[in-house]
Symmetry: C2
Subunit: 523 residues, 2 copies
């Protein structure tokens, strides 16, 4: 391989999915993994298989179905974790087990309540065990940047001795500066002669706003794998934003000299899909994928931009796929046109799914003159959410008059197909609808967050509602899409309720000895 | 001054306010400037006085009223710009004129259509002219990082010769890497002996995700002023996020050795105020101010966090003011309690404004058991928006039934006090309301963006709606707050309409020779 080629490792589905309020189901994870393959990332870290049966199933489904990238599963340095990860990635074209253990004294003492010697032994056993299942093994000394560099080097040397093929050095708490991080990595190269024979990887968190700069400093110091997540999601302030680091390497290739295999034209679509399915908004001024990241989308007059483009633009919006989505369907477009349009967007939709999509497309085309690529994306990702739906919204009515609080009636169909009706007089129409859904389903869910965004511009835009609610101590998110924001909100609430119920059941079924992934934020 | 003390220069009201869709009125700018003073920034760049009469008035009001920071006004290297800026900041305790001209050939040739010699002459004349009005003069060679370093050094030497006290080196298009930027600044120190005698400043854009890292590299190379904006807003991907660079210097003070005078406990409040008044959301994973930036807000069990706090947290949420807002009022709280609570939040509210605030507080307390500091902040910032309101929403009704499109009736009071009623049958309730407002006011405004966020958690949360619309070629934003999202949406639409009308009038009144600030993105 070209010595300046950088491997892009995506952890949207693992570190990203650990973010509070995100609860992707297996269908959604699979759809994201397919899109990551189209984006051309080299490695997809698909999940943490031991964390839950759902996580295991999702990793296994991705390993079986998604072609192209290496599919990685995360495992603590325990035999049970590693066996579960090995089983989950076994059917992948190319699978990877990623195992980790902390080398910082603060983690060793307070979290692991262990000793350096024990950590070193666990790392050795874990890598050897992983290697017995899979050739491709990645090892991470967690919280490395706050650890003693000599002890970390010792553990890394052991991991390489046992056959680790990638060594990842995480800045787990987002603490390092670029100079420190580069110096730490250079020191590791000095201390571990074998490090030159494996791939060194960087994994940076953005707590102090330095994740992208630290990743760059890492590859400049010799690393050839960068771990990141789409839209920079992940624990706390998130991981290095994958689209930022990729576009940095691409835009400054002449100066930096690195290459990647990412198809940057898929960036915008991947970003929208992840934002939509996770319910995590992208701020307008976010680099690369924010709606204002490219000047020509701003209020600057078109002719000014055309005249002066190079004066204020260092990247062309088409290179990240922001333009060129000029595909437009109308109310006279048929099933075949819809299928082709979806295929062009990367969604292969046939049979019953195509019928459903066509029905929703026709409803939308009746309300909206032009149905754009972004509308279709929203509809298809919306349909994905139904795969595991346990409740379904049937209809609702709201009465909103002057000087009288709004009154809502809703009908929800339960998993057994029974129609449940409830009503409520609330402070506002959304409040009334949500409480009416509680009344219909006899659930005491509490709303934690609520948001509505427009999917596309214009008066007849599709609205997308996001709800986070809490039920019996479990919080879960749901989204809904409609031209009517109250319908989108009701849909989102019903789905969040279904997701929360699944979590409540899963928690009730979990054995007492089960791992607590929330207490193990991982690299 | 301590040689390691870094001057914090805030450009939220200038570069930040140039972002598409942001249209702050003078009252809102003044409120943000007061909050920036409480935050303890050293310099507030209050606007671009020649850009419009509104910008001029806002800068002058801030210069007259806001105590503490230096108040700066931006000016191109033209006599008229400088005179206007001088007049605007004249009454400040300490005023500054910030003048700029590009030194990159790409800007000189394509935008200025001029020559290097002419640019050098203009810079000399501009600094000299500014100096005749004001001791404190900052000069920026725009697009410096893409310019010839020797020519840039020549222009900087001229500016220093004419008395510039701060030299700011902008990475206008967000193109530099930390290594390059530091090398560029070190080269300037070599080429310009006088640079050691003035303050060197950095101004970085985030197009490639490196604004904070480049700012850090700048101070490590000798700069002692950092320009940034709250929430990282600004042209395209925005400026260095002020809260990130400040918390980086604070959190890593032992390693980096720099100090600032910022009161970090005001960061969260400042961030919320700017987000609310600009309508720019903050993504959940945004460093420092995103809702997930601190682990203890995530799903991690409270006892886990308490046990292991240092294991995953490098900053304490209280240091950025995220906790400690435990102030709570209820329906029995009186006018005096409200006034004290507002004062504690930094809002001095008396007379008629207090009566209005109390009335809205009581309405809210009727609907919501506990009124928190964040609710009060939202109400007060909502009231600020009314200062220049020309239309007012009186009432609305919506009929939402099964199998029938929603029908809305609204009543809007026009600037002359007349009540205008309109109705419309729309695709959804929001669509119906917005078009009914168009019908009532006989305006053909087109919706561009629409969003609803919850201000606080919980079922009885306040909702905040943001609207961007377009009227006769002008786009403008408006926000509204209510426990009823349809009311918040209607309020936001009416305000956006009023803002758009002001812009349409201003554009009609502008002389043909007036500057076009949108074509002049400035440093």
């Amino acid at each position: 391989m070209d010595p300046d080629r950088v491997i892009i490792f995506d952890t949207t589905l693992r570190d990203g999915e650990q973010s509070p309020g995100i609860s992707l189901n297996a269908t959604e994870k699979l759809e994201i993994a397919h899109q990551l393959a189209r984006l051309g990332v080299d490695v997809v870290e698909a999940g943490f298989p031991i964390a839950s049966p759902g996580d295991f199933e999702a990793v296994r489904a991705i390993a079986r179905e998604v072609e192209g990238p290496v599919i990685a599963g995360l495992a603590r340095a325990h035999a049970a974790d590693i066996e579960r990860a090995a089983e989950a990635v076994r059917d992948a074209g190319r699978g990877r087990i990623h195992t980790f253990i902390s080398t910082s004294d603060i983690h060793i003492e307070h979290q692991l309540q262990s000793t350096r010697a024990d950590v070193c032994g666990q790392a050795r056993a874990a890598v050897a065990h992983a290697k017995s299942f899979c050739d491709d093994v990645e090892f991470s000394p967690m919280d490395a940047t706050r650890a003693d560099v000599e002890f970390t080097a010792e553990v890394i040397a052991v991991a390489i001795e046992e056959g680790a093929t990638t060594i990842n050095v995480p800045d787990t708490v987002g603490y390092a500066t670029p100079d420190e991080y580069a110096a730490f990595l250079r020191r590791l190269y000095d201390l571990v002669p074998g490090l030159g024979g494996v791939v060194l990887s960087v994994h940076c968190h953005d707590d102090l706003g330095l994740a992208v700069a630290n990743s760059l400093a890492g590859v400049q110091a010799g690393a050839r794998q960068i771990e990141g997540a789409i839209n920079g999601i992940g624990e706390r302030a998130g991981n290095a934003s994958l689209e930022e680091i990729v576009m940095l390497l691409a835009t400054r290739a002449a100066h930096l000299g690195f290459t990647t295999q990412v198809n940057t034209r898929e960036i915008a679509r991947t970003s929208r899909m992840v934002s939509r399915l996770t319910g995590y908004v992208i701020q307008p001024n976010k680099a690369i994928v924010g709606r204002n990241a490219f000047a020509h989308e701003s209020g600057i007059h078109q002719d000014g931009v055309l005249k002066h483009r190079a004066t204020y633009e260092i990247m062309d919006a088409t290179t990240v796929g922001l333009e060129g989505n000029d595909l437009v369907l109308g109310k006279h477009s048929g099933r075949h046109a819809l299928r082709s349009a979806l295929l062009e967007l990367g969604f292969q939709v046939d049979g019953q799914a195509l019928n459903t999509a066509f029905k929703r497309f026709k409803e939308l085309a009746d309300r909206k003159k032009q149905v754009t690529a972004m509308d279709l994306e929203a509809l298809v990702t919306d349909e994905l959410r139904d795969a595991l739906r346990s409740y379904a919204l049937e209809w609702f009515e709201v009465d909103i008059a002057r000087n009288r609080p709004p009154h809502a009636r809703v009908c929800v169909r339960d998993p057994d197909g029974e129609e449940l009706v409830g009503d409520f007089t609330g402070d506002g129409p959304v409040d009334a609808i949500f409480r009416a859904i509680n009344a219909a389903t006899q659930r005491e869910a509490r709303l934690r967050e609520f948001r509505v965004d427009a999917v596309t511009g214009g008066q007849d835009a599709l609205g997308e509602a996001s709800v986070v609610l809490e039920l019996a101590g479990q919080s879960a998110a749901g989204q809904g899409v409609s031209t009517d924001i109250l319908e989108a909100a009701a849909q989102a609430y019903v789905r969040a309720l279904a997701n929360a119920e699944r979590k409540v059941h899963a928690a009730a079924e979990a054995e007492p000895a089960a791992p607590e992934p929330e207490l193990t934020p991982a690299p």
